[in-house]
Symmetry: C2
Subunit: 326 residues, 2 copies
């Protein structure tokens, strides 16, 4: 915790954050005999599939940045608020990763994007069948909210209120007004809902991404800020910072889909174009898309500076997101 919060480089912070998230997920996920072996196996197949853990990293980094802000403002100058913030935010970080994982499982189904390969491995439904894949996704969403309700254990009113606030914001980000709504628009745009087709222009494309991936990315950072005890300004800044980071992430994703090879990405490259999905490069070209991503990065940095959240790793994480190659 102390060590994670005070890592000496972004690489060390990310490595330690991933390690803590992986250990916590392993401990918190239900296992036999509490649940059937097949559900446990299927959940773990997807949860431990080598994901980047971007969302939990945002959660823990936002908690750390808020803790540093609170420390710097405390008259005593003590480091009291710091080390505990990552601990407090860890359940939210894990819960959001479970939500993200369930969404990938369901999006990969034949009835949705019909992907057979993810992170270089067969997708869950290819291995266990569609029925088990649907159920494993459903279970992961339930476990996510169970985790938010149970952890960290507390009878303290302030912390209970923070947990409820995080559960509410994660639910909104994951539900019909957020991630699921965005995926529905994506399905409609891909012509997969007879009688409910949609054609996206650049504005509605951005709106779709804001819901489909942006909402949960924003919730990731906001949840970290809430759990660390940030004030309204800090929570709002974490949310707006993450909105820009999420948009940049999506633009880069689209660029990589055009440029990348299946080997680099661990998934089928060129798939968006093959399915006639609107993408940033298709609408704006590669160069203008890169500029748009860079503008997101600049805006996100200003947000941090104005809210005194510049200490910690948030800006470096934004740079990592924009410069990533897979």
């Amino acid at each position: 915790m102390g060590q994670v919060a005070r890592a000496e480089s972004l690489a060390a912070f990310i490595e330690q954050a991933r390690l803590r998230v992986d250990r916590a997920l392993d401990a918190w996920l239900p296992a036999p005999p509490a649940c059937p072996a097949i559900v446990s196996e299927a959940m773990r197949y997807s949860v431990f599939a080598g994901g980047k853990r971007l969302r939990p990293i945002l959660t823990l980094a936002a908690a750390d940045a808020v803790a540093r802000q609170i420390e710097s403002r405390s008259t005593s100058g003590s480091a009291g608020a710091g080390p505990g913030a990552i601990d407090l935010a860890l359940p939210a970080a894990c819960a959001i990763e479970l939500i993200h994982t369930y969404s990938l499982i369901h999006d990969d189904l034949p009835a949705m994007d019909d992907d057979t390969l993810r992170r270089g491995r067969p997708t869950l439904h290819v291995v266990y069948g569609d029925g088990v894949a649907i159920l494993a996704g459903d279970a992961l969403q339930a476990e996510a909210f169970g985790l938010l309700a149970r952890e960290p254990e507390t009878r303290e009113a302030g912390l209970a209120m923070r947990k409820l606030r995080v559960a509410a914001l994660v639910a909104e980000a994951a539900g019909a007004a957020g991630m699921v709504g965005g995926q529905a628009i994506d399905l409609q745009a891909a012509g997969q809902v007879p009688g409910y087709g949609l054609v996206l222009d650049s504005t509605s494309l951005e709106g779709m991404h804001r819901q489909k991936t942006g909402a949960l990315i924003r919730a990731s950072a906001a949840a970290g800020a809430v759990m660390a005890g940030g004030d309204e300004e800090a929570v709002d800044a974490a949310d707006r910072w993450a909105a820009d980071v999420g948009l940049a992430f999506q633009i880069v994703d689209d660029i990589l889909d055009v440029e990348g090879s299946a080997g680099d990405l661990g998934k089928t490259a060129g798939k968006d174009a093959a399915r006639d999905k609107p993408t940033y490069p298709a609408l704006f070209g590669i160069d203008r898309s890169r500029t748009l991503a860079r503008e997101c990065l600049d805006r996100s940095r200003s947000t941090l500076a104005r809210a005194a959240l510049g200490a910690g790793w948030l800006h470096e994480i934004a740079e990592w997101v924009v410069s990533r190659r897979n």
Copy 2:
């Protein structure tokens, strides 16, 4: 509220409970422009499909019974705790109905039970396609937990703790150790998971039902008891009472599947036998199955008596469950 809690007959209690639940669901479910029209339409198609609202009725009735118990013990003899209990429990009642609804949508999918008719209407995936049905189910689960986290609005520590406890117990009942786990065992027993087949005997059949339908039914009653401020004994009694009611419900369901016509049930009768699903009548015969259901009812009555939860509608609800014809 006062009116519902103090209805003069079971029929009046149930009617008022259904009305309140339907109104609250209508108000709490997201709608355009907050979410895409197709997701809203699909959610509402299934939520307002004429379900019995059994689970929310259990929640509100348990809250009412606990409130009556608390009133009867208060030295002042005032009715202070009563009328508010139904209000406090209404969000949990609605959340559990949303979870139940999502589970029906997903269970009906071709990859699961492949049902095309429910409550006399085409199932959701028949109308909107599998993709939208999966998404609508996913959204309903998220909305359920959002509702539990947000409602009833409070900054009071005691009530916040009750909400967190209910969210945790609903998540456990809905997840891998509960409803989803039971459905996975059901899929395996139906031979739908290649390489993971299961043969159920009477013990494992009961275990499957305890998870698939029993867990959420128990959570329904326990949630009502928690929200009404019941002590541990009351919460535990509500939980055990509902375990017996849930088992009786399942046995009666199996009997109706053998005896009923599609018209009465609003779904395809004889489907279990056609699919070689193990059922109570298949394992024990109709007469012994009826006796088993009756034994559940007797046990559930003793539980109420021992915990001083006999005032209110819980026992009459148990009788209604056992004697229902559809």
